[in-house]
Subunit: 276 residues, 2 copies
Amino acid sequence: MSVFFKFLENNTVHRRENDYQLVDPVKEHKIICEKISNRFSLSNKSKYAFESLNVDLIFFRANKNLSTRKELNRKCLIIIDGLISKFRLSRDGKRHITSFYFPNEFVNLSSLFSDSGEYELHTHTNCIALSFQTSELATLAKSCPEWAHILWQEFAQEFAIAQEWLINLGQRTGVEQIGNLLLEIAIRSKAITDARNVEFRLPLTQIDLADTVGLSPVHTNRSLKILKSMSMLEISGRRVFIEDIHKLSNYVGFDPNYLDLNHKTLNNNIFLCRNF
Amino acid sequence: MSVFFKFLENNTVHRRENDYQLVDPVKEHKIICEKISNRFSLSNKSKYAFESLNVDLIFFRANKNLSTRKELNRKCLIIIDGLISKFRLSRDGKRHITSFYFPNEFVNLSSLFSDSGEYELHTHTNCIALSFQTSELATLAKSCPEWAHILWQEFAQEFAIAQEWLINLGQRTGVEQIGNLLLEIAIRSKAITDARNVEFRLPLTQIDLADTVGLSPVHTNRSLKILKSMSMLEISGRRVFIEDIHKLSNYVGFDPNYLDLNHKTLNNNIFLCRNF
């Protein structure tokens, strides 16, 4: 596979609304099942159980807010295309982003067996997602140990990211926080190959970044400028280019292990070639 | 039950090492099972399955560090008495605390079905805990849907706290951060009754508080002083007294809902009597 082709595949040019009609839910359901199966080695029985779930294909326009009590009430999503964040507004209207959800990731998984409280979600791009009834996923987890395993692992991954973000917010400088966040996004948007550099689409504004790490927009802008002035990264429009992942990671103290609890996805890439 | 008696029961005077020999693991196992059963309405079959697990009683001295790769390798704990925190040291030696574990809470639950990475734990008091083999708990979750439910809910609670802490670190002032943390500790150490005031033991130093919210010790000290000067709280030795929970909660923007995903434990207390 050529680098260019790989790039196109991993950094999807986010689809337009019209493309929605071209997406076949049954086919997408199968593709997602296949992707999960590749990561977790699903038995045929478990694949069949997953493919038998009722599923809707949902399209959300960019820049919409959704609520886990309204639009996503008793629903879990798997994102096919796009980027969603979870956020909370404080009583004085300040927003804090507590999670991002990238393609192939579950949204609202914490509601599977418990009330997860009310959260708002925001679509940063047009999004296409498969939508499952929470109750059906819960039944699947109960009746099929392989799926109980998978859903727990997906949830444990989300928890590990939240814990890492606590460290990011609590102990790191602005430059380190922004560097860590961008490297995490590069990995989660599957942009990192075995090359030393990486280019990826970042459908976030500087205010989004600020509201994720808890810095002011000015401090965020200054941190990005410092990284740019050190040639650690370039930003052009919505694209980010990191010339040397290894160098940036070392500089900002990024360790990708928390993103790879199953030790599969990061295999054979730059991070495992180097001694972090 | 008199208020005094309730107070003693809830704010346990942390036991000394000698008391360890007085604790009967079989009895404690049954007591924990009964407590969980009261919260989640366990069937007799599920109670029996839990009581049939192999369990060790462990005593840890105060101020010890434990690792999820060493002392807690393939083990989950339920704390009977004491306070444990989970923390990570940054490469320049700065500590950040990402979780606390109070009596009746599970420790290391994220390792149940996945590798949760290496974390260090710290005992802030002498601790007594029941220790389970992770593999046995995982088998219990697979064979018994009621337990799959409970373990997921416990984990979802831990996740909800981590998300709330992200908001605390990201968007709140020092005074608000410290106020929110102290109110959470008051609830999780079961100190809150139906009275408007609360007194509880806080086995944490100001540096522990600082390393939890990501403030400097000086900023933490100043925030505590502000709360004291406003008569929001008093601290005497290791005891904290909050004269009006409602007033402090309003002032620092604390909403206890995230601590009560099952809507059981907070029933009949001050928080549900008021319109938050």
